[in-house]
Symmetry: C2
Subunit: 114 residues, 2 copies
Amino acid sequence: MGIDMQPELCKVDDALGILVGKWKPIILLILLQEGTKRFSDLKRSVPGITQKMLTKQLRELEEEDIITRKVYAQVPPKVEYSISEYGKSLEPILVAMHEWGTAHTLHKTKKLQQ
Amino acid sequence: MGIDMQPELCKVDDALGILVGKWKPIILLILLQEGTKRFSDLKRSVPGITQKMLTKQLRELEEEDIITRKVYAQVPPKVEYSISEYGKSLEPILVAMHEWGTAHTLHKTKKLQQ
DNA sequence: TGGTATAGTATACTAAATGATACTAATGGA
DNA sequence: TCCATTAGTATCATTTAGTATACTATACCA
């Protein structure tokens, strides 16, 4: 490995901590690919997620400056979420994971065929 | 994003599923950087991990073909673990995460100073 | 004879993540 | 007047992840 990744100060965990969870990757992918979304749009885009979970994941991502939350003072409420500039820096990781995941599916398929 | 990462079939979760856990990243980093290791060496290299957890993580990584387990028929037992060829394909992800994690630490430091 | 070493397993437990369901406020429209 | 809409919160139950501790077999060595 070209880079020295001192395991004892495992920086990998920082990235992992932000990406991990049953819902965060898909939320980030949707916001990256489709841009700004309302809460209810996200809920529709992530089938099976509960309001509580969506709220929690969004709050955590906002806390880390990965996404931006914009509230409109109107009734019924309107809240928009989008990836922050800083959040875009996660894209290479998500892309690398997606590519690996795709190859991994093939790998597992081959194993089954043996 | 250049690549189409259809969120509905979230491949990112595959990579995440393998990397996630309190101990897997550090185990992988150690094996990547230091090569083959015995069980007891790994236990010493990962302070705080219990035998049960180390065993469990290693079994899961082996199950996914990420690492290789070699048992020597001798007493006291000797078992060696190393990264498989396939496991090495995770390296770009770990590197990307490590780089991001390092930058993220700086980002958080700056935020605190504001 | 009894202690040390290795790579585990077994059992019981706590803590964290996730899920299900019900509830809220204020407005516009039928 | 009543219902739908939106972006949540509150409460409780369940599932999963992780921890603590004790136990095992066998050979070697003092």
